[in-house]
């Protein structure tokens, strides 16, 4: 599904954010992308959907090179959940925002309605359908922002810090929802406990390089490795 080979990305002033990254993910996998602040997690996700460009190396999403020509096809297959739900949700009402993508991709009204209903039921927020977005709580907004990409029926879901600013109950709810989604998911976060609950595989980024890539339990229980990458053991493994 996703194939990255020797990816290098630099900002304008020559600051290297990603350094020789190679990574491939299969259909249906759940991959945790962990690393300290500034390790390049968000940049990597943004490169996959072409919000950041001018990279060196090769990125393929579902066999398509990420470039200007393919980008709209790739974006149609890929749902990206922003860290900040206020950027994700810009329409006045929940239903308008969830319908935004299917309407823009030109589906007929019945199909749009079907997708909106399906997305809302999938994460149990049918009751929010006609509510105003600016009146929702943070937890509700997070769930709605996930619904806005589920209505695209994407094959790949990218999430940037999905559990940030959620209270324990909402966080647990989010974990259950993530576990029920069958698509390929890449979840960037430093909430390592959430990664343990949602992802089988974990990629650890440190200083723009892949420091480890393997089974979540193994990667996240290696105290020295985590500390060298600016992280700590997940809370449940701390004694």
């Amino acid at each position: 599904m996703i194939d990255i080979k020797n990816l290098i990305f630099e900002y304008d002033r020559g600051i290297r954010v990603l350094d020789n990254i190679s990574l491939s993910c299969k259909n249906g996998e759940s991959v945790g992308l962990v690393g300290a602040n500034g390790a390049g997690k968000s940049t990597l996700l943004k490169l996959l959907v072409g919000i950041a460009d001018k990279y060196e190396g090769e990125i393929k999403v579902d066999g398509l090179d990420v470039n200007k020509k393919n980008i709209s096809k790739i974006r149609e297959k890929t749902g990206y959940v922003f860290q900040d739900y206020d950027s994700q949700l810009f329409m006045p009402k929940v239903v308008d925002d969830v319908a935004f993508a299917p309407v823009n991709y030109g589906f007929a009204k019945e199909e749009v309605d079907r997708r909106v209903d399906k997305a809302l039921t999938q994460i149990n927020i049918e009751h929010l359908r006609d509510r105003h977005i600016y009146k929702l709580s943070g937890g509700e907004k997070k769930l709605v922002s996930i619904a806005t990409i589920l209505s695209m029926e994407p094959e790949i879901i990218l999430m940037d810090e999905p559990s940030i600013a959620l209270d324990p109950k909402n966080r647990r709810n989010l974990i259950n929802i993530l576990n029920n989604l069958g698509q390929l998911k890449i979840i960037a976060s430093h909430d390592l406990d959430m990664i343990m609950d949602t992802c089988k595989r974990t990629v650890l980024l440190s200083g723009g390089r892949i420091a480890a890539d393997g089974d979540t339990r193994e990667v996240l229980s290696d105290k020295e490795l985590l500390e060298s990458a600016g992280l700590e053991l997940p809370l449940r493994l701390q004694k």
């Binding site: 709209s72 950027s87 239903v95």
Partner: protein
């Protein structure tokens, strides 16, 4: 800064009131918008000495207040925004226009006093009419009505976006100014040394936010167009509501109702 709190409170309050499920709220938004504009036009079209005719126009706001079960008190604070300037302009009329009309005891009523009074009443009525519109119609419905009369979509879209982000940005300003005043006790406003950086920071943050919103739109197939789910169709009751009010307003405008009643009871 209580002004910001008030603004957020006011926004939420209006939204709650307008979102109620009552029959006046459910009338087609274009009907309500058109009636409001017609009403205001009729009110301001009264001559400056036609006090009695103007008073008759109270019928519309009074009726809608009752029909929509709205609190009159809530609407009063909106008057304080517009009335001062209206009063300042009107206050000079008694000085310049001093033809006596009649005496009440030793007090002489002049034409200028009448024209000042009509001016203030026009101000009150027009503000009340706008308040009633927004209290029974949500912003999305008004935007829907604007699209129906072919206001360019770029203007309507931006009103919607603005409305979506107003409370968020007001909240941000409130936090910034609160953080400022906590570290600058005893200052009433923002000191000029930080005018630029305080507002500038907020502006940069807003631009970043706009950038992120644009990215989020693009990732979901944005092609420059917006579609909203808001849909209303004209039904019989909308047309009746419109026609009845139009007749009432025109009768009150062109038939001296108040004076007629004055003759009957006087």
């Amino acid at each position: 800064m209580s002004r910001l709190d008030n603004a957020i409170h006011e926004l939420n309050h209006i939204e709650d009131v307008a979102g109620r499920d009552q029959w006046v709220n459910n009338i087609h938004p274009l009907v309500k918008l058109a009636l409001t504009i017609i009403y205001i036009i009729i009110v301001v079209s009264f001559g400056k000495y036609n006090l009695s005719g103007l008073i008759g126009m109270a019928v519309y706001p009074a009726a809608v207040f009752i029909l929509a079960e709205l609190s009159f008190k809530d609407s009063l604070k909106r008057l304080k925004v517009v009335l001062p300037f209206v009063c300042i302009v009107g206050i000079f009329n008694p000085f310049f226009d001093r033809i006596p009309i009649y005496n009440i005891g030793s007090f002489t009523v002049t034409t200028g006093m009448i024209s000042m009074l009509t001016l203030v009443i026009k101000g009150v009525f027009s503000v009340l009419a706008s308040y009633l519109l927004i209290a029974i119609t949500t912003i999305e419905e008004i935007c829907f009505a604007l699209r129906l009369i072919h206001v360019p979509s770029i203007i309507v879209t931006q009103v919607m976006l603005m409305y979506r982000y107003i409370s968020m940005l007001i909240g941000e300003v409130e936090r910034i100014t609160k953080a400022y005043s906590l570290r600058a006790p005893g200052q009433k406003g923002i000191h000029f040394k930080v005018w630029g950086s305080l507002v500038g920071q907020l502006l940069l943050r807003s631009m970043d936010k706009a950038e992120a919103v644009y990215e989020s739109m693009c990732l979901r197939g944005f092609n420059g167009n917006f579609y909203y789910s808001e849909k209303h169709k004209f039904v019989m009751s909308d047309i009746i509501y419109f026609a009845v009010w139009l007749i009432i307003l025109l009768v009150f405008r062109f038939v001296p109702i108040v004076r007629a009643f004055g003759y009957i009871f006087g």
